[in-house]
């Protein structure tokens, strides 16, 4: 049924329809509304046969889920940012053990400097952990991806992370079609574990593996991911058939067929990009978009197919590897490098720590990619004046102080002066 509903609440409702048996809750902005919503549904009795556990840390949240999943219960938790890093050891462990846990990540920046707003630093930090990572474009997709994620996780016995832009989606209220229990039940069968702690059939899980077998165990993890592409496409097709709308899959193509410039992006920014592309195409620009839904496993072949005809590929990263640049750009570059005539890759870093990615900025960026392409990462809307002043300060004094505080001070001084000037003109 169509509802005007907050993203987090919509996700909670749909996760509940997936009949999770153990939910581990620990608060961290901006995912908190999801577990709060689930807690309400358990207390109200709308979600029955479910253990809702308030744990003492994110590390415990995922550890409890590891235990409950290994003991045969469908297990769910949610986190963000620092929370994901705090549980990092368990994130790798769940993947190594092959436990089909589903976790929502309310994407948020990582400190220092501390920042509660949206970017993809958290998901990128653990991209090599062995989890499947799916990125939602809208709240409808954020809700739907959880149904697909449980199915995918349990078919392959792998953990799946559903990445949802913090605030931009989690706190946005928009139209979401909430499926019925019958629809979800028909799509998602009960959890049948491939390994389970059971006194009737005792096994040991989590043995120490030495050099003689570690490579093989790791290879099997790689094999599982690399052979999952068809399944991910099939599950999306089946979802679309059962629910009457498209969600999930490896990637989505928006006017890439004839495009000279193809943009690649993940998450909620794709909506804004589409609006810009519509305007630019109306002006005659040959531009398209690839919305990457599945980031792990990385759909190399699908990307090669959809981008084979592009001359330029512009990758928008919402995170930064300070020693390298944009992680998504590096991945896309590697995927396309061996094409017969590979496109030029242009990397843009945008929307860090919640900075809005505006239509105006994207418009400028896309024009620049066609007219005056750049080398290395392009920091969208970087305040070069502030950066310049801070660099100058550092050059002058050894004890130049903390960068974050210095930049804030410069900005605040400028802001106050501009505001004062405006008030004076108004009066």
């Amino acid at each position: 049924m169509l509802e005007q509903i907050e993203g987090s609440k919509a996700m909670a409702r749909v996760i509940a329809l997936c009949r999770p048996q153990v939910i581990c809750a620990y608060p961290i902005t901006p995912q908190t509304h999801i577990v709060e919503g689930l807690g309400d549904l358990v207390r109200e009795g709308a979600l029955q046969n479910c253990e809702f556990i308030n744990v003492e840390s994110e590390f415990a949240a995922l550890s409890v889920a590891i235990g409950s999943s290994a003991a045969g219960a469908r297990s769910y938790t949610a986190t963000a940012s620092q929370g994901l890093l705090f549980m990092a050891e368990a994130v790798y462990n769940a993947a190594g053990l092959g436990l089909p846990i589903v976790m929502t990540l309310g994407n948020r920046a990582i400190g220092a400097p501390i920042n509660i707003w949206n970017d993809h630093s958290d998901a990128m930090a653990l991209r090599e952990s062995g989890w499947f990572q799916l990125f939602a474009e809208t709240n409808q997709e954020a809700a739907d991806l959880h149904v697909i994620a449980f199915r995918l996780a349990e078919e392959l016995s792998v953990p799946v992370m559903v990445c949802v832009d913090g605030f931009v989606l989690t706190h946005a209220m928009e139209r979401v079609d909430i499926p019925t229990q019958q629809q979800v039940d028909a799509y998602l069968p009960p959890y049948e574990p491939v390994q389970v702690l059971d006194p009737a059939d005792p096994i040991s899980i989590g043995a120490m593996v030495g050099p003689d077998a570690f490579t093989e165990v790791r290879y099997l993890q790689y094999y599982k991911q690399q052979t999952a592409f068809d399944l991910i496409e099939d599950l999306a097709a089946e979802f679309s058939e059962s629910f009457g709308r498209a969600s999930g899959g490896l990637l989505r193509d928006y006017h890439c067929g004839d495009a000279e410039l193809a943009v690649v992006a993940m998450g909620s920014v794709n909506g804004t990009i589409k609006d810009v592309i519509d305007e630019l195409r109306a002006e005659g620009m040959s531009i398209g978009l690839v919305t990457l839904v599945t980031f792990r496993p990385f759909p190399t072949r699908a990307l090669q197919q959809v981008l084979a005809g592009a001359k330029h590929v512009l990758v928008i990263d919402r995170s930064l590897d300070p020693g390298m640049g944009g992680p998504l750009a590096s991945n896309v570059d590697l995927a396309l490098r061996n094409l017969l005539s590979p496109p030029a890759i242009h990397s843009a870093i945008a929307g860090l720590g919640g900075r809005p990615i505006t239509k105006a900025s994207l418009h400028r960026l896309f024009m620049q990619a066609m007219e005056k392409p750049w080398e290395g990462p392009n920091f969208v809307d970087l305040n070069e004046k502030v950066v310049g002043r801070e660099l100058h300060r550092r050059a002058r004094a050894r004890r130049s102080g903390p960068a974050a505080e210095n930049v804030l001070k410069i900005l605040e001084t400028e802001r106050a002066a501009a505001f004062q000037a405006r008030i004076e003109t108004a009066e």
Binding site: Q4, I116, V168, A172, M173, I357, K359, A426
Partner: protein, 196 residues
């Protein structure tokens, strides 16, 4: 597509106002998107929320920079930040104040937008009278439906009842109706403030 920006302070129901507005539009079969400006919200701190209403799926995720309608729930914010930034020249302005626009030095701003597009409403007083709490958001939404024809008063009232069930919803409905009627009478009389 219509874009609304609501300014206020933490505790005044700014985010809830944007959400109720989006629900009202949804109830009329339209697409709507409401979202806050994502701060560590604390009581009394400046808060901004946005609402977009359209007839097609709304894909745009940037904050509302050029609002068609600006709702200001706390007039003291004019001194603290650039509340009016980006207000389109055909825009509407709705301010919660029991004083006139000249008293709060907004004459120049009101003059920049078309006549009849600005209204001052004593929403806090109306809220205190009807809800016994200084929550001006529902009164302002009622006023909004008198100032513009984007959504109807009935839809706003339905949205209010979805957000506040029972007696609280009824009280908020009364506040919204009172504000709607007040602004309607202002418009009929060609006035823009309570005391003008």
């Amino acid at each position: 597509m219509i874009q609304v920006r609501i300014h206020g302070r933490g505790g005044q129901g700014v985010v809830t106002a944007a959400e109720m507005l989006s629900v009202a539009a949804f109830l009329e079969g339209r697409h709507a998107q409401a979202f806050p400006s994502f701060g560590s919200e604390r009581t009394g701190a400046p808060v901004v929320a946005f609402c977009r209403i359209g007839d097609r799926e709304i894909r745009l995720r940037e904050p509302v920079q050029n609002p068609d309608i600006l709702i200001v729930q706390d007039a003291t914010l004019f001194k603290a930040l650039d509340v009016l930034e980006g207000l389109s020249k055909d825009g509407f302005l709705l301010v919660n104040t029991a004083r006139g626009f000249s008293d709060i030095h907004l004459d120049a701003v009101v003059a920049r937008i078309p006549a009849g597009h600005a209204q001052a409403v004593p929403a806090t007083e109306l809220a205190l009278a009807h809800i016994s709490r200084p929550a001006p958001n529902t009164a302002l939404l009622g006023a909004f439906t008198a100032l513009t024809d984007i959504v109807t008063l009935d839809s706003v009232i339905a949205a209010i009842h979805r957000t506040f069930p029972g007696k609280l919803g009824e009280a908020n409905e009364r506040a919204a109706r009172a504000a709607h009627d007040l602004v309607s009478s202002h418009i009929a009389a060609g006035k823009d403030t309570a005391d003008a």
